[in-house]
Symmetry: C2
Subunit: 395 residues, 2 copies
DNA sequence: CCTATTATGTAAAGACCTTTCGTAAGATCT
DNA sequence: AGATCTTACGAAAGGTCTTTACATAATAGG
């Protein structure tokens, strides 16, 4: 479908280089022998040797000393030269900014995490700069070395331009051109993406061969990402906004703080509210002391009937809200991450039970194992994907 | 990402052949000059000439007499040889079976349509055989000539095996191995797909560059297909089942006839019921005489206030049901086809108006222009896609 | 020290594409 | 009618790449 432009014999060489590099990548982080590569790529040995020589010269591969292990002449081993193309991932949240630098193989070279004390777009941008600087120093790299940058931000992002269109959680954030700011520092591909989308990407990469995945980020706010065969689904630009689904029985209240109806109904804050209201009628319940959503789920897991009732109601609202999505998208799994993910199996089971009556073949409902690092992992993942996409076609 | 296996110089030749053939296809049904192809493929003229010679010898292309039109030596023109790889598309509905044969360029060679008098899986299968036989005769082809078959059927289809898992509208249909039956006749790739999915594919092909499309088939039953960048989305196997979305305020009634809650609420039959109930209180309305959904919409278009109210209620239920899907999928457009599509702008406007309050950036809501032929068109489309996929990699 | 085994290097051959030049066929102008 | 222009086609030379086949290098075990 997509053909090369000049299409001479050099194209063949490029293709073979790409094939070899891809094979090395799949074997990473293990070192790989030449003979192994010929098998993996199904090319002939001289061809692979040629490609390896090129890649070695270009700095993509590193040669290791031949360790003799078995009989015969010991093979020279090769591995990815991570330093050839380190990438930067950023997780810009309203309360925390994290920068991570990873090498080509996905190995983390540096991670710097910093809480934000003062709110506001300016301070956030400053924190981004500080954190990236420190991460670069920690990895002993300069900005020029970075080959791809992906930044995760809350809100709705126009990916083509990198502009944040709508970000209620950070006042003034949509006026700031984060992508432009980063592009001024880094002379490479810069992508700005919605944080829930990137968390979804990370979840999909972890669940290998996930097919279609709906990854929900559930905390104060509610977002989701759709990953189809490893590719992030963007649609017309704002896919995954489950926070704005209007749950049954909840009237559309005036959009004051930019939160959507579902977030108002079953966001972390709303769960605590609901628990308080229920506890008021039942003072004997442990719920009376609950100050955050985690405590509610803990109480439910501990056998508190009132808490269980609350969890079930939350699960019911969630299940009813996404049932249409499940019916249309038919995801293989729903992965739940974000702050609520710490709730554990109590919530999962309740959701799965509710979904059974609402869908034809309910997907498995799982917790994200990535926890807080999901967004950063996804950002790094996307940056790496970008590098590989560019690299494999023209290394 | 996907590399060729042997990767010698011959693959270059194959790639170039594929590029040339693809270029001819894009120009179809117009005849194309050699010089044009060099431009389109960005290959050199001798290379294109070589490829054309190969394709001519293999029978994929036809050579035309040089017609002198402008100045200069008249160019020999080439076009796709449709007879090289005709495909069969089938639309197996509960009441009608249609067979269509198309050539490589998408030109229809034969279309045979037959209403089914007696219900039952047996009669349906017989009709399929009859109709395909007549279509083959009409196109003057034998079964061996067909290079790909796609059959559309109602119900839920396991695409990998071609088995129909669930087909309430045709009793006994899920016991019949349609794919196996067709494979016995045709020695080529046979695909069985859900009819709504294929209608969606057709709609996406018509709306060129559609990005993400949600195509709804709305008649007695409700189904939908999701097409993303020209690719049908299947998910875990039963994507697009909007008929089973549970609309607000409608209790889950016992699944008697296999219809889903939304179908019971706003399927064609339910619309008539609703209109009758409303008309009962307002005898002056034209609705009292409405016997089918089309009449209701016609009355609404004609200014009948009661009918307008009915349409608005239907639109509201539909909009509320798919709003979550729109939020998560963010489709560029929603295309409505099926029997209800004849309703026209009245329904569209009402839906669009309702969606505005429920979604962030509402997609455009459009009518399918394909009307009844959509499913067959989609089936042929998918068969052609199959041929091209196989052909372009190994012609 | 020699042999078996495994890995790597090198040269000739074959396949393909590209560049370059020359030729052919028709249309328009004089 | 002939000249000239435009467009299209064909053939040979040159270069790049892969493949095949053969030779060489390094190690362990006898």
């Amino acid at each position: 479908m997509k053909e090369e432009r000049p299409a001479g014999t050099p194209v063949l060489r490029r293709m073979n280089r790409a094939a070899v590099l891809d094979a090395v990548r799949r074997r990473a982080p293990e070192q790989v022998r030449l003979a192994e590569l010929t098998q993996l790529t199904e090319l002939t040995r001289p061809t692979v040797a040629q490609a390896v020589e090129d890649l070695l010269a270009a700095g993509w591969l590193r040669q290791h000393a031949p360790r003799s292990a078995a009989v015969g002449r010991p093979a020279t081993r090769f591995s990815l030269n991570g330093r050839a193309a380190p990438v930067l991932g950023l997780d810009v949240g309203p309360h925390t900014v994290t920068a991570g630098i990873a090498d080509l193989a996905g190995e983390r070279l540096a991670v710097i995490r910093r809480p934000i004390s003062r709110r506001g777009a300016r301070h956030l941008l400053e924190a981004v700069d500080e954190v990236t600087g420190e991460a670069l120093a920690m990895a002993d790299l300069a900005a020029e070395h970075i080959t791809a940058v992906t930044a995760a931000t809350p809100g709705i992002v126009e990916v083509t331009t990198g502009r944040v269109l709508f970000a209620p959680s950070v006042p003034g954030w949509s006026e700031i051109d984060l992508a432009g700011h980063l592009r001024a520092h880094f002379r490479c591909a810069v992508t700005v993406e919605n944080d829930a989308n990137l968390a979804a990407l990370a979840a999909a990469h972890q669940r290998t061969g996930a097919g279609t995945l709906l990854a929900v980020q559930w905390g104060e706010r509610l977002g989701a990402g759709v990953v189809i065969d490893g590719q992030l689904h963007r649609g017309a630009g704002q896919a995954g906004e489950i926070g704005f689904i209007r749950p049954i029985g909840h009237l559309p209240d005036a959009a004051g703080d930019g939160r959507g109806p579902l977030e108002r109904a079953i966001g972390a804050e709303a769960i605590v509210d609901l628990a308080r209201r229920c506890a008021a009628e039942h003072p004997e319940s442990r719920l009376a002391r609950a100050t955050d959503a985690a405590a509610v789920f803990a109480a439910a897991a501990g056998g508190d009937p009132i808490a269980a009732e609350v969890v079930d109601r939350v699960a019911a609202v969630f299940a009813e809200a996404i049932a249409p999505v499940v019916l249309v998208l038919s995801p293989h799994a729903i992965v739940i991450g974000g702050g609520i993910a710490r709730a554990g199996a109590v919530l999962l089971d309740a959701i799965a039970r509710r979904l059974e009556g609402l869908t034809l073949t309910p997907p498995s409902v799982e917790l994200s194992e990535l926890a807080e690092g999901a967004v950063l992992t996804g950002a790094i993942q996307m940056a790496l994907d970008e590098v590989w996409r560019n690299t494999l076609t023209a290394c």
